[in-house]
């Protein structure tokens, strides 16, 4: 029987400077399981999710409190969850992010948005993305399949 790699869990202070150490730890963990390219995609999606959680956590008036990140292998995938006391991403925007065309508006540089790509990047980088509530916590779940 194949041995299951133990998961990873980290808490993240609501400070943008706290994102990188967690992201690097998750990248290192993911790379052992799924290689460098997939680990890079996981790291990018996680950084975008944490940045969004920290920025919107402050906007909603919650400037204290930690965010939790868990990483767990499950079947042929890696499940990364970002758990917070406020919605990690607004659910309506998550649905829209999946439908956005990344090449929309490239002809006119002056009209390019300088922000708002984070959710699209999460959806494009991961194989499954969903939002749920559990025990008064909001959970952003991101799944990356382990390719052969």
């Amino acid at each position: 029987m194949a041995e299951t790699s133990p998961g990873l869990s980290r808490t993240v202070e609501r400070d943008l400077k706290a994102v990188a150490p967690v992201a690097l730890a998750v990248h290192a963990y993911a790379e052992k399981i799924m290689g460098a390219d997939c680990a890079a995609a996981v790291e990018l999606a996680l950084v975008e999710a944490l940045t969004n959680a920290i920025k919107h956590g402050s906007i909603n008036g919650r400037e204290t409190g930690q965010i939790t990140v868990t990483v767990q292998p499950k079947d042929d995938a890696l499940v990364i969850e970002v758990i917070d006391t406020v919605p990690v991403v607004p659910e309506g925007l998550l649905d829209k992010a999946g439908a956005q065309r990344p090449d929309a508006g490239l002809d006119d540089v002056m009209s390019l948005a300088e922000s708002g790509r984070g959710l699209s990047i999460i959806v494009l980088s991961m194989d499954e993305v969903s939002l749920r509530t559990a025990n008064d916590r909001y959970v952003l779940s991101m799944v990356k399949y382990i390719s052969d």
Partner: protein, 112 residues
């Protein structure tokens, strides 16, 4: 933000010394670019050879730079590799910025 700069004729080469460009330092990156553009520099090469990670916040700073530059100037990216290049391709920003494999290649091409 760690960086070095060098002028070659009308070209300004900004070599970024940070390994990560992300939300925590994106405002400094934006300030660096906008600041140089506001002094009249309109041919800028941003050397990303040391950068191993970039997120959408930093990308936003680059987009802010290219918008400030306007259509008569050039903000080129050099040395983007790995995850940095992947992000540019994922967001189709490889169609917006002039990309060069190295600062040397950019200087040669843009120097005419």
């Amino acid at each position: 933000m760690q960086f070095s700069e060098k002028s070659e004729g009308s070209l300004l080469l900004l070599e970024i010394g940070e390994t990560r460009l992300e939300a925590s330092n994106a405002p400094e990156l934006r300030e660096l670019l906008i600041g140089r553009i506001e002094t009249g520099r309109d041919q800028i090469i941003l050397d990303l050879q040391h950068v191993t990670f970039m997120d959408s916040s930093a990308l936003g700073a680059l987009i802010g730079g290219i918008k400030k530059m306007g259509p008569l100037g050039t903000l080129a990216l050099a040395g983007a590799t790995g995850p940095v290049l992947q992000l540019l391709k994922l967001t189709r920003m490889d169609k917006v910025f002039a990309l060069y494999p190295s600062a040397t290649a950019a200087l040669t091409e843009m120097g005419g």
